[in-house]
């Protein structure tokens, strides 16, 4: 075996080439880590947002968008009384009639941004138990409560919506009365107001949906049967988890675009890195031939060249991981129905390391083979 120091010292033969290789691998690993973390974050938030115990009753034909759905107001009461298996506490059944309303909100400082406002009653907390008030109180008339990540979705500074601050919705001034968390779900980036206020502001006399919380997810057929039997209400029953699963598939092309963009930029960096290694190894054909003449096998020399490449690529991986931890971890990313937090968890870090190793291995092998391929007598005469 050649000494490890041979590989490390070779790295510093050309500082420019070393920087190119490390820079290229940093870029590729960072892109892969970012793409994985973003996809993972989006998947997590969409899968965690839908509980298999919850059933959403929407207007028939509006299965793709709750916002467009129209459900008669009386459907909530009828469903609460008729659907078996609905969760119940202190004699109150977990049924929440809701209006999902998309409109512009005006913030102090003349900031105007589109937001999803959910009109709810306190029963909403029974069907969405992941929602926890962290500050203030549940909104009353003329008030709203704001999700922990709403600032990111609304594109306003994080501290711009304190309790008592005011915002405007369709000329109606609303006061921020509370703040809530719903970890890992899209609810965290929503604004909740009272059902009565939203009914008036949206000028509608129907609900967007009725959410039922079942004791057992296996009772879904009961809710489905109810929706099918009550033809007068024109309802369709969906598992909440299926609804968000469908949304997740809807965002499939977006995730594919993230991968394609990362792939294209990464491919450029990989080709640049391989080209750098070709140049670096090509200048050492005679040296490799000399080592073979001394008695080192091609396998040993290939291993040493791969060591060099791995060292550079793993240095790039380390830098990329550092950048990801400092600049990506904990960042919230908005998307059309909410926001999610990017997490550089052990899985993402492992993906980065595997990417770095693959880059080091696969990037080095073609130039190394080319460097070791010439016949010894020819290679020894190369300059």
């Amino acid at each position: 075996m050649l000494p490890f120091s041979y590989a490390t010292r070779n790295l510093f033969r050309s500082k420019t080439r070393l920087l190119q290789t490390i820079g290229g691998s940093t870029l590729v690993v960072l892109l892969v880590m970012a793409a994985v973390a973003i996809n993972q974050g989006m998947n997590h938030v969409l899968s965690a947002s839908g509980s298999p115990r919850n059933v959403i009753l929407v207007g028939s034909g509006s299965e793709e968008s709750v916002q467009r759905s129209e459900v008669p107001e009386r459907a909530a009461g009828i469903a609460a009384a008729s659907v078996p298996g609905v969760s119940e506490a202190l004699g109150v059944r977990a049924v929440s009639g809701e209006i999902h309303y998309m409109n512009y909100l005006d913030f102090p400082g003349h900031v105007r941004t589109q937001a999803l406002i959910r009109g709810v009653t306190p029963e909403a907390l029974r069907v969405h138990p992941e929602v926890r008030l962290t500050e203030g109180h549940f909104p009353r008339a003329g008030e709203v409560m704001i999700g922990r990540l709403a600032w990111r979705k609304l594109d306003v500074p994080e501290d711009s919506l304190p309790i008592g601050s005011r915002l405007q919705l369709s000329d109606q001034e609303l006061t921020v009365a509370g703040k809530f968390a719903a970890p890992g779900t899209v609810l965290e980036s929503e604004v909740w107001a009272t059902l009565g206020d939203i009914r008036v502001l949206a000028q509608r006399d129907t609900l967007s949906c009725v959410v039922l919380r079942l004791d057992d997810p296996a009772d879904f057929p009961e809710a489905d049967l109810f929706a099918k039997q009550r033809l007068d209400l024109e309802l369709t029953a969906m598992r909440e988890s299926d609804y968000y699963g469908r949304l997740s598939r809807f965002f499939g092309p977006l995730r594919a675009m993230i991968w394609i963009t990362a792939g294209l930029i990464g491919a450029g960096a990989v080709l640049g890195g391989v080209n750098t290694l070709y140049a670096a190894f090509a200048s050492r054909v005679r040296e490799m031939a000399t080592l073979q003449a001394i008695g080192f096998s091609r396998g040993t020399l290939l291993l040493s060249l791969i060591q060099e490449s791995l060292l550079a690529c793993l240095t790039g991986t380390l830098i990329a991981s550092g950048i990801a931890m400092v600049f990506l971890d904990g960042r919230t990313v908005p998307f059309s129905i909410g926001a999610f937090t990017v997490e550089i968890d052990p899985g993402v870090a492992l993906t980065g390391v595997v990417t770095g190793i693959l880059l080091g291995l696969l990037g080095a092998i073609p130039p190394a083979i080319r460097c070791l391929k010439p016949a010894l007598p020819t290679a020894l005469r190369m300059s």
Partner: protein, 231 residues
Amino acid sequence: MSEWMIQCRGLSKSYRKGATVVTPLEALDLKVPKGEFLALMGPSGSGKTTLLNLLSGIDSPTQGSLVIAGQEIAELSRRQLTAWRARHVGYIFQLYHLVPVLTAFENVELPLLLSEMSKKERHDRVATALELVGLGDRIHHTPTELSGGQEQRVAIARAIVADPPLLVADEPTGDLDRDSATRILDLLRGLTRDYGKTIVMVTHDAKAAAAADRTLHLEKGQLLENPCADF
């Protein structure tokens, strides 16, 4: 044991270059006794370096028999030749071919990394080899910090450190000034005289050839003299 270090019979080497077949060496017979310092001379393209490459196991003949230190090497595979070179041959190049990122000590140590020697044993042998070539005080210098003559002496130390019976040298003084060349030739002579090494040296320089025990001339892939007739 045979008294011959090298025995070639009908040794030929040819290769394709485009549509034509080039034969730099044809049906060559040669015997070199152990401990001889042999110089090979001849014009460019006469087959000197090809013969040197065959003798050192860097290349394989197309035809003929080649026995070195009692072993037929013409039939060895590439992998077997690599292992054989590590034990039997020390190669000295015209342009030294030292590894630039390694110190003189580390360059000389390279052939020993292929053996089972302990670190201390390696250290002692490298120190001895560098002392022998007069560079005991330059062990931590990298090739860029050495003169041409010093670099060639490091290369010689590298060639002898594993104690191979055969040394091959391709124009070892071709890139050196006269004083340095003389020192290198003295060193090579001493290796034959004091340590019984067999040396085959290719050179264009008649003065360098004069340092050898015997000089053979090659032309168009053939030896001008009949070397086997002497033995």
